[in-house]
C-alpha cells in the first residue's frame, strides 16, 4: 500500500512562510485562502515560554471525517491516502469544513483579489470559477505528484513529483513521501526522530507528522 504523508520538522522550521507563498503561487488560491499555513504559536507559562512555528493544513487523514459527513461524495480518499474534492459534485454546504478538526477547509463565496475586485493578470490566469462556492483545501499538489509518478519520478525525492511547499522550504523542514515505503524521505525522518501528530483525540489518523527531537542512540 501507499500512504503519502507530510512531515514537518519543528526543529528546523523558522516560520518564514515561504511554503505558504509557494502554495498560493502553485495553486492560485485567492486572498484569505491558505492551504499551507504556518502558525506562530507561543506556548507554556511564564517563565517557561517558547515560540513554535507550526506548519499546518489538510492532514489527509486515514479516517477523514470530512469524507464521512459529505452528502455528495465530493470528498473522497484515493488509494494512496490523499483526500481529494470533486469540485463538480460539491454543493458548498461546508459540512466538511465543520467536521475537520484542523480548520483546513475553505469556501469562497465572493471572490476578492489582491488589489480589490479587479484581478491582476496573473490572478486572471489562476482564477477558476469551479472553485467558487465549493469546499477547497490542500491537495498535496496532486497534479504534480501524479505527473511525476507517470514520468517515473519519486514523490518526495524528485522535485518534479513533490508538493510546492516541500520544494520551496528553505530549511528542509517539510518532508513528503510514502509512509509505507521504508526508504522514502518521510519514513526515514519518522524512523530517526521523535514525533507526534496534532489533535490526536479526534481519532482521524492524520497524515501529517511533527518531528520534535532526534531519537536517542540505539532506539532508531
Amino acid at each position: 500500500m501507499t500512504r503519502y504523508v507530510m512531515v514537518a520538522d519543528l526543529q528546523r522550521c523558522v516560520g518564514c512562510q515561504t511554503c505558504t507563498a509557494a502554495c498560493k503561487q502553485a495553486n492560485g488560491t485567492l486572498p484569505g485562502v491558505q492551504w499551507r499555513r504556518v502558525m506562530d504559536i507561543e506556548v507554556g507559562e511564564f517563565p517557561n515560554v517558547k515560540r513554535v512555528f507550526l506548519p499546518t493544513g489538510c492532514q489527509h487523514c486515514g479516517d477523514p471525517p470530512c469524507e464521512t459527513v459529505c452528502p455528495t461524495k465530493a470528498t473522497y480518499t484515493r488509494d494512496d491516502g490523499m483526500v481529494m474534492i470533486d469540485y463538480d459534485l460539491c454543493i458548498g454546504c461546508a459540512y466538511c469544513a465543520l467536521a475537520c478538526p484542523y480548520d483546513a477547509r475553505y469556501k469562497v463565496e465572493d471572490p476578492k483579489f489582491a488589489y480589490g475586485d479587479e484581478p491582476m493578470p496573473h490572478e486572471v490566469h489562476a482564477f477558476d470559477e469551479k472553485m467558487i462556492g465549493v469546499a477547497q483545501k490542500c491537495t498535496f499538489c496532486v497534479d504534480t505528484v501524479d505527473e511525476g509518478i507517470a514520468a517515473g519520478l519519486t514523490p518526495g525525492v524528485d522535485p518534479e513529483a513533490t508538493p510546492a511547499c516541500v520544494n520551496s522550504c528553505i530549511s528542509g523542514a517539510l518532508i513528503f513521501g510514502d509512509r509505507d515505503d521504508p526508504n522514502s524521505p518521510a519514513s526515514r525522518a519518522l524512523a530517526e526522530s521523535e514525533h507526534f501528530r496534532m489533535n490526536e483525540e479526534a481519532e482521524t489518523d492524520p497524515g501529517f507528522y511533527y518531528l520534535w527531537d532526534k531519537k536517542a542512540e540505539g532506539l532508531q
Partner: protein
C-alpha cells in the same frame, strides 16, 4: 488591503463562520417542525384536533430546508445531497424529508377522510410523526458528526437536541386551538421541560469535562443561567399558575417561552458557542541546547 479572513484563522480556537443563522434556522425549523408532528401523532390518538399542528410542523421543516438551500454555495446542484446515504447524516435527513412531506401532506389534505373504516388523518399523522422522529434524529446526528466543533461533537448534545425539538413542538402545540385547554398537554410539557433542563446541565458539564475550548464553555455557561430560569423555571411556574387559576394565558406564555428559548439555545449552540479546536501541540521541539517543553494535549 486588509485580508478579511486572515485574522480569523489563528492558532487559538475561533467561532466557526461556515454555518451562520441560516443553518441555525434549519435546526430550529426542523426541530420545532418535527416536534409539532411528533406531538400531533400522539395527540391524534386522543381525538384532539391536530390539523394545525401538521400544517405548521411541515411549514417549519420546509422553512428550515429553504434556509439551508439559501446557505449552500451551489444550490442548483442540491440534488447531489442524496448521493451518500451510507455515511452522511445530511443525506439521510434529505431522504427522510420526502416521506415526511408526503405523509404529512396527505394528512393535511385528507384529514377528515375515512377509508375502509380507517381515519386517513390518524393513520398518516401517526406515520408522519414516526418519520419526523427519524428526521429529528438525523438532524442531531448531523450536528454531532461535526468533529471539528467540540460544542457539537459532544455526545450529550444528542439527547438534548431531541428533547428540545419535542419541547419546542409541544410548546407551540399548546397554543393551538382545541389543545391548549388539555391538562395532559400541560403536564407533558412540564415534565419534558424538567428533562430538557437536566439534559442541558449535563451537556454543559460534559463540555467542561471533555476539554471544550474556554470560549465555548463561557458562552454555554453564561447563556445557561438565563436559559435555565427563563426557559424552564418560568414556563413551569406559569403552567402551575394556569392550573391554579384556571386561566389559559399563562399556559400560552409558557408554551411560547419554552419554544422560543429552545430556538435561542440552538442559535447559541450552532453559532455563538461553535468554536474550532485550535492548534494544540503536546510538546515543543528541541532547538539548540534547550529542552522540549511538555504541554499535554491541550493548551
Amino acid at each position: 488591503m486588509k485580508n478579511p479572513h486572515a485574522a480569523k484563522r489563528g492558532p487559538r480556537p475561533r467561532v466557526q463562520t461556515n454555518w451562520d443563522y441560516r443553518a441555525a434556522c434549519n435546526f430550529i425549523g426542523g426541530g420545532t417542525g418535527t416536534g409539532l408532528l411528533i406531538a400531533a401523532a400522539f395527540l391524534a390518538w386522543f381525538d384532539l384536533p391536530v390539523l394545525a399542528s401538521l400544517l405548521i410542523g411541515l411549514t417549519a421543516v420546509g422553512f428550515g430546508l429553504l434556509m439551508v438551500l439559501w446557505e449552500i454555495g451551489r444550490p442548483w446542484r442540491s440534488i447531489n445531497v442524496f448521493f451518500n446515504p451510507k455515511t452522511s447524516w445530511m443525506t439521510r435527513e434529505g431522504i427522510l424529508a420526502m416521506p415526511l412531506f408526503f405523509f404529512g401532506g396527505v394528512g393535511v389534505f385528507f384529514y377528515d377522510n375515512v377509508y375502509q373504516g380507517i381515519s386517513i388523518g390518524l393513520a398518516t399523522t401517526t406515520v408522519a410523526g414516526i418519520v419526523a422522529a427519524g428526521y429529528l434524529y438525523c438532524q442531531l446526528r448531523m450536528l454531532n458528526a461535526s468533529k471539528g466543533i467540540r460544542a457539537w461533537s459532544e455526545p450529550s448534545v444528542r439527547p438534548y437536541m431531541f428533547i428540545t425539538g419535542v419541547v419546542e413542538g409541544l410548546g407551540l402545540t399548546l397554543c393551538l386551538p382545541g389543545i391548549g385547554t388539555n391538562l395532559g398537554v400541560w403536564l407533558a410539557l412540564a415534565v419534558l421541560l424538567i428533562v430538557r433542563a437536566y439534559l442541558w446541565l449535563a451537556y454543559g458539564q460534559n463540555l467542561h469535562k471533555n476539554n471544550a475550548s474556554v470560549g465555548t464553555c463561557k458562552v454555554i455557561d453564561q447563556f445557561g443561567r438565563q436559559y435555565f430560569t427563563a426557559g424552564h423555571l418560568l414556563p413551569i411556574g406559569l403552567l402551575v399558575l394556569a392550573w391554579l387559576t384556571s386561566t389559559l394565558l399563562p399556559a400560552y406564555v409558557a408554551g411560547i417561552l419554552a419554544s422560543a428559548y429552545g430556538w435561542y439555545a440552538k442559535y447559541t449552540i450552532v453559532n455563538r458557542a461553535a468554536q474550532t479546536w485550535g492548534f494544540a501541540i503536546p510538546r515543543t521541539p528541541v532547538r539548540g541546547g534547550g529542552e522540549s517543553l511538555v504541554l499535554g494535549s491541550q493548551q
